[in-house]
Each structure stands twice: as structure tokens, then as C-alpha cells.
């Protein structure tokens, strides 16, 4: 009798467990006909995710949403702001459980990974040609992988160098002629170190920035069809040697090797570094270190043999899982239209990806009594013509950039010579590219 009861109870446990498990499980069937006809006036709600825009831009985003809802009374926008560090993981788990939002603000690197897995709407097909032409060409093309344009560009930035006038003066350097090439950056760093004991240059080398430096110095990353590494060249070697020497001669902080941009900005704000590429941090410096901000003089990006400058793109994507693709693309276009982008750009040091918005005098003329943030904006916009996305979306990008980062680290730490490290990276790239 006792045994029977125990068996019954065990059976109950198993049934409850199976029920829970199946409730937690992924839905196997997905409605095929879920692409609702958004032309109908039936009320729909779009889920929109942004990357860490609250609370600074709450009013702005809510304003854009209100305007869109006014124009489209049948569409409601449900806005969710996600911390930047969590967004990739959250979107990934949302996509994997068939619960992706309809519109998402996503960086190109991660978006390209999703695009490779065919998880994002192809904007080449979803957006009309006349709308495509409204965006900066380079920014639109920056989101292309395998003939798929996986995103609509939202806002841009080009690299601008921030220089600490006080340190320049202490070292007897002319702030009107700040370093504009890698070689000048090295010379200035030597003088600054000698005269002030501080660091001149702090190039952050975390992950993809190594690849950007390679391209800026004139190295090609891969051959034309992307099947073989092409950076094992004079220019590539120069770049490895350059950073290895700077590191060994202690002309850049040791943290350049392991630190992310937070380290760089911390040291600049503490007045320990004379110059770095950090236009996007100008508001932060103004708030955290007003004295350093007052002494900050922006200048064009430091470049190498190629003369190229980095452009960064922030995107809006529409996951394929959306049930309202047409409305989602419509909202993405509204969010990134000239008027909304111009308004956004006036709140923070970014550049619009809309050609019309870029024509505004706000990006071309410095106001009277211009301060550092104004100069950053003007300099950044002026560079846009020469700037490009230096590292295009690539398959297995994370492995490629990690391999290059490991190689330059081995060279800087003296484990391998620059040439040996470059050879090693080339071999690894060829293996990854042939997958």
C-alpha cells in the first residue's frame, strides 16, 4: 500500500515536472502567416529596444514616439531601454525564444553576426530606393554583408583627437599643431614623457581597434574576396613594430594592452594623458572633469600611411521575427529621418546619418565662444568625407579580431617578435577565413 502511494506521488512529481518543462520550452511551431498586413487599421504594438539611452534621452525618445504615434494612430510603440553591456545577450535570448522585439538599436558588429544567421530584415528590399538615398552612402554600405543590408544607419561619429592644452604647454609643444600622424604622436609622446613625466598618447587597443589601426596604416586586412589574410605586409609590420616599441619604451601606459576605453578616459580625465581619440566622451569629460574640459582642444584624428579616418555607425535593425515588418521598418525610418536625427545630434556629440540633417549649419559653423564640444562636432563632421567604416562586417569576426589582438599582445609583451606575431596572426586568419 505504502509503495503504491509512493509510486503515485512520484508519478505526480514527474507529470508536474514535464508540464513545467514543456511550458518553459521553446515554441516549435511558428505562425507562418504572421506578417500581418499593417495597412489595415487594426491597432498594433511595436516593441522598440534602445541601448542605454535612459534617462539622458528619455524626453527625446518619448517625443519621437509620440510624434510617430500621432502620425500613425493604429501603431503603438512600447519602448524598452537596455544597458549597453546586456543588449547583445538580451537580443540573442529574445531571438532564440521567438520573442524578439520589432525594432532594435544595435551595433554593427553584433548585428552582422545576427545577419549571418539570417535573423534580420534585409533593408535593401524593405526600404524604397528614394529613402536609401537619404543616408550617407558610406554609412548605408557599412551595414552590408553577403549582399544583405541588415540595418538602417542611425547616428555616426568620426574619430576626433582630444588634446590637453596644459600638458602640451608644460612640454613646450604647440597646441595649434597637435600630432596628426602616428609618427608625430610618437615624437610628441617622447617629449611629453621627458618634460612632464606624463604619457602623451593612449591608444586603446582593445579588440577591433587593432584592426582599425592596421587599416589606417595602409594594410589590407584580407584579399578582395575575403578568403585570405593580406595584412602581413610592410604596413602591417610597421603597425606591429610601432605599438611594440611604444609599449617597450613606456611611451604609452601599460593599460593600453588590457584596458578598454574606460581606462583611457579615466587617465585623460585625471590629467595623466595628453591626447587620445575620444570625441564620444566629450560630454562625460565636461561633467566629470570640468578643468580638463576647459583645457581640451579637439583636432583631426591621428592617421597613418593611408590617411584614412575611422567612422563608427550606430544602427537600427528589424529582426525577421517581427509580426509587423512593414510598420517596424516605417518606425525605423521615422526614427532616423532628418528632423529627428538633427534634434538628437543637438543633445549629444554625434553626427546624423541623414544627408539633409548634415547640411544644417550646426555641423558646419562654430558658434560664437565655441567650446570643446562644439569644436568636436565641427571637426567630426568635417572629417566625414574622408572617414569610412575601416573594418567591414566579416564572418567569424570575433575570432578574427581576437586573433589579431592576441598577436599584437604577444609582440608587445616580447613573447614574439613583431614579424613572428604577424606571421602567426596571418596563419590563424587563413584558417578562420577558410571555414
Amino acid at each position: 500500500m505504502m509503495r503504491k502511494k509512493a509510486k503515485l506521488i512520484s508519478l505526480l512529481f514527474i507529470i508536474a515536472f514535464v508540464l513545467i518543462v514543456s511550458a518553459c520550452g521553446k515554441e516549435e511551431t511558428k505562425e507562418d502567416g504572421n506578417k500581418q498586413n499593417d495597412d489595415s487599421k487594426e491597432e498594433i504594438t511595436l516593441e522598440f529596444w534602445t541601448m542605454q539611452l535612459k534617462p539622458t534621452f528619455t524626453d527625446y525618445i518619448e517625443g519621437v514616439i509620440a510624434d510617430f504615434e500621432k502620425e500613425n494612430p493604429n501603431i503603438k510603440i512600447d519602448w524598452l531601454d537596455v544597458p549597453a553591456a546586456d543588449l547583445d545577450k538580451k537580443i540573442l535570448s529574445a531571438v532564440s525564444t521567438d520573442s524578439a522585439p520589432d525594432v532594435v538599436n544595435l551595433n554593427p558588429t553584433f548585428a552582422s553576426q545576427l545577419a549571418q544567421l539570417d535573423a534580420l530584415v534585409n533593408m535593401e528590399e524593405a526600404v524604397a530606393d528614394e529613402d536609401k538615398d537619404k543616408y550617407v552612402k558610406g554609412a548605408w554600405e557599412a551595414n552590408r554583408i553577403k549582399d544583405i543590408t541588415f540595418a538602417i544607419p542611425w547616428y555616426l561619429s568620426t574619430e576626433v583627437t582630444l588634446n590637453n592644452k596644459q600638458i602640451f604647454e608644460e612640454a613646450g609643444l604647440d597646441i595649434k599643431n597637435p600630432p596628426s600622424t602616428f609618427e608625430e604622436a610618437r615624437e610628441a609622446s617622447e617629449i611629453i614623457k621627458e618634460k612632464t613625466g606624463k604619457y602623451g598618447y593612449f591608444p586603446s587597443l582593445d579588440l577591433s581597434l587593432v584592426l582599425q589601426h592596421m587599416v589606417v596604416n595602409g594594410a589590407e586586412l584580407t584579399n578582395e574576396d575575403g578568403t585570405k589574410a593580406a595584412f602581413n605586409s610592410k604596413e602591417g609590420l610597421e603597425m606591429f613594430e610601432y605599438f611594440t616599441e611604444l609599449y617597450k619604451e613606456e611611451l604609452i601606459p601599460k593599460e593600453a594592452l588590457t584596458g578598454d576605453q574606460r581606462e583611457t578616459i579615466d587617465m585623460y580625465q585625471a590629467g595623466q594623458v595628453a591626447f587620445f581619440a575620444g570625441s564620444q566622451f566629450i560630454s562625460q569629460i565636461k561633467e566629470n572633469a570640468p578643468d580638463i574640459y576647459k583645457n581640451t582642444v579637439p583636432s583631426e584624428a591621428i592617421t597613418g600611411n593611408s590617411g584614412k579616418k575611422t567612422m563608427s555607425v550606430q544602427n537600427v535593425v528589424v529582426p525577421k521575427q517581427t509580426k509587423h515588418e512593414k510598420a517596424a521598418v516605417q518606425f525605423a525610418l521615422f526614427l532616423t529621418n532628418a528632423e529627428n536625427q538633427l534634434e538628437f545630434s543637438k543633445l549629444t556629440p554625434i553626427l546624423p546619418s541623414s544627408l539633409e540633417a548634415l547640411e544644417d549649419p550646426y555641423f558646419t559653423e562654430a558658434p560664437e565662444g565655441a567650446e570643446a564640444s562644439d569644436l568636436v562636432r565641427i571637426t567630426s563632421a568635417a572629417q566625414l568625407e574622408d572617414a569610412e567604416l575601416l573594418v567591414p562586417p566579416m564572418e567569424n569576426y570575433d575570432e578574427l579580431r581576437q586573433s589579431m589582438y592576441d598577436a599584437i599582445s604577444e609582440s608587445m609583451l616580447g613573447k614574439l617578435s613583431p614579424q613572428e606575431a604577424l606571421d602567426k596572426a596571418e596563419q590563424e586568419w587563413n584558417e578562420i577565413l577558410s571555414k
Binding site: 505504502m2 502511494k5 506521488i9 505526480l12 512529481f13 508536474a16 515536472f17 513545467i20 518543462v21 518553459c24 547583445d88 545577450k89 540573442l92 535570448s93 531571438v95 532564440s96 553576426q113 545576427l114 544567421l117 539570417d118 535573423a119 582593445d206 601606459p253 601599460k254 593599460e255 594592452l257 588590457t258 584596458g259 578598454d260 581606462e263 595623466q272 567569424n396 570575433d398 575570432e399 592576441d406 599582445s409 604577444e410 609583451l413 613573447k415
Partner: protein
């Protein structure tokens, strides 16, 4: 009578359901995934033992495994032994002792991200630690604590120990307070000094707690992640990368979920083995 037989099981039911849904099901799912090629978006593809074969041929996997063992060897003894002395110290009946108990516990409730950033400042080339060592004349030039392949892992270990001391101290404190005071009184009558009381009464009576702390700290050391993520990102040159960090990178940066699951299964087995060893050797006397 009938109701009484079922009642205990009904009390267990909610716990079993929660454990089943949030522990056992994901565990089984991970084991299944470890035999697949899965990227979280497209359907998983069964690849038999390929993930395990690839893991065993991956140099980085072995390196992170070694780092994890190193972590275990260095961190666990510190977390088992030091808190005993802290607990003995804060167990004194002195005025204001509650302040010290709280002070030692503060790191436990401090966010690891905040702690990581604060320690980052301590370890910087021109940070507090190098400054202090310089003043004391111990070093002539700054030590790159977090940027040298020789020191990065150990520097992070210190943070793990610092953060865990208070937590384990509280466990020991509970243990100390459960020791009957008449044992100490009897020992004093017999003429035992403080040290003899600690070694003959306190430590033996604390053994069940040592076992708990040993298992808990071993598991904590094997799944260390946040400190590394915040302070070194696994660098330089993967010198501070542990197995969990490796799993995280493979899963979420490279979307190799099946491969990461295989590494996760290995971590699970290793943790299980360590826990069994702990129970076998340290739990022997306490099961009597």
C-alpha cells in the same frame, strides 16, 4: 491517515518543481546541447562528440582549465583558513565588535563591478598599491599588476579572496556561537591556554563548517567570472582567463552555444568530482 502520508510530499512539490524547472531541466538541456552545433538562432544540429574532440584539441581550453585549477589551489585554502581567524576575532565580547563584523562583511554586499573598478585603481601602474610599495621602499619601479602575464591572475585572486572573507567568516561565526561555552570553561579549569582552546576545541568543533566552506569556496573558485570580466577581460594574452570566462566568450561572443555547453559539462563534472573529494575526505569525521 491517508492525508498525512501525502502531505509531506505536497510540501516538497513546490521545491521540486522549481528545482526541476530551473536546475535540472537547464542542466539536461546543456548536456544535450553539448552534442550539437547550436548558435541560438538556427535549429541545433547533432554533431555527436565533435565538440568534445575540438575542446580537447583547443590549447586555449587547456590554458583556461589550468588557470581554473590554479585559482582553486590558491583561493580555496585562503577562503577556508583566513575566515576562521577573522571569526575568532569578531567573536570576542568587546565593545564595538559589531562594527568590525559589519566592516568585514561590506565587501560581500559590494557589487563586483564596483569592487572590480575600485581594485582596478588600486592595481594601476600609478595606483595605490604601487604607490604604497614605493613609499615603503619595496619596489623601485611600478609593478604592472593587471597588465603582466605573470601577475594578472594572482591580482584577481586577491579580489576574490577579499570579497569572500566576510561571507565565510559569518558561517564560521555561526559555528563558533554554536559551540557550548561549558567546553571552554572546563578547558580553562584544566589550565588550557587560548591557543590550546582554539586548536583543541574551536577548530575540531568547527569541522562541519570547514567542510561547508570548503565545498562552497571550491565551487565559487571554479565558476569565477565577474572579477575577471571587469578587471582584465581575461588578458593579457589569456593569462587570467578561466574556464567560465572561456565558456562565456564562446557562447555569447561567438555564438558557439554547443561548444560552450560541452565546456560547461566538463566544468560541471570537475566541480562534482571536487565536491565528492571534499565530502569524502573532510566529511568523514562529521558524518559519525
Amino acid at each position: 491517515m491517508r492525508t498525512n502520508k501525502i502531505t509531506p510530499y505536497l510540501f516538497l512539490l513546490p521545491g521540486c518543481i522549481i528545482l526541476g524547472a530551473f536546475i535540472f531541466y537547464p542542466m539536461l538541456q546543456a548536456i544535450w546541447m553539448s552534442f550539437t552545433d547550436y548558435n541560438m538562432i538556427t535549429e541545433p544540429e547533432f554533431v555527436k562528440l565533435d565538440n568534445y574532440k575540438n575542446l580537447f584539441n583547443d590549447e586555449l581550453f587547456w590554458k583556461t582549465l589550468m588557470n581554473t585549477f590554479l585559482y582553486l589551489i590558491c583561493v580555496v585554502p585562503a577562503l577556508v583558513i583566513i575566515p576562521i581567524f577573522l571569526a575568532v576575532l569578531v567573536n570576542q565580547k568587546l565593545r564595538g565588535i559589531a562594527f568590525f563584523r559589519s566592516a568585514y562583511y561590506i565587501p560581500v554586499v559590494t557589487s563586483l563591478v564596483v569592487a572590480g573598478i575600485a581594485w582596478d585603481w588600486v592595481y594601476k601602474e600609478n595606483g595605490l598599491l604601487n604607490y604604497m610599495l614605493d613609499i615603503l621602499g619595496i619596489i623601485s619601479e611600478p609593478i604592472p599588476w593587471l597588465t603582466s602575464t605573470d601577475t594578472a591572475l594572482f591580482a584577481v585572486m586577491v579580489v576574490t579572496v577579499w570579497k569572500g572573507l566576510g561571507y565565510y567568516m559569518i558561517i564560521y561565526l555561526a559555528g563558533l556561537q554554536s559551540i557550548p561555552s561549558n567546553l571552554y570553561e572546563a578547558a580553562q579549569i584544566d589550565g588550557a591556554n587560548w591557543w590550546q582552546q582554539v586548536t583543541r576545541i574551536t577548530i575540531p568543533m568547527l569541522m562541519p563548517f570547514v567542510l561547508i566552506v570548503s565545498i562552497m569556496s571550491s565551487i565559487a573558485a571554479m565558476k569565477v567570472f565577474e572579477e575577471i570580466y571587469v578587471m582584465t577581460g581575461g588578458g593579457p594574452l589569456h593569462s587570467s582567463e578561466t574556464l567560465v570566462f572561456y565558456i562565456y566568450t564562446e557562447a555569447f561572443d561567438r555564438l558557439n552555444m554547443g561548444y560552450a555547453s560541452a565546456a560547461g559539462v566538463i566544468l560541471f563534472l570537475l566541480t562534482l568530482v571536487f565536491s565528492i573529494i571534499n565530502l569524502k575526505f573532510m566529511g568523514k569525521d562529521n558524518t559519525k
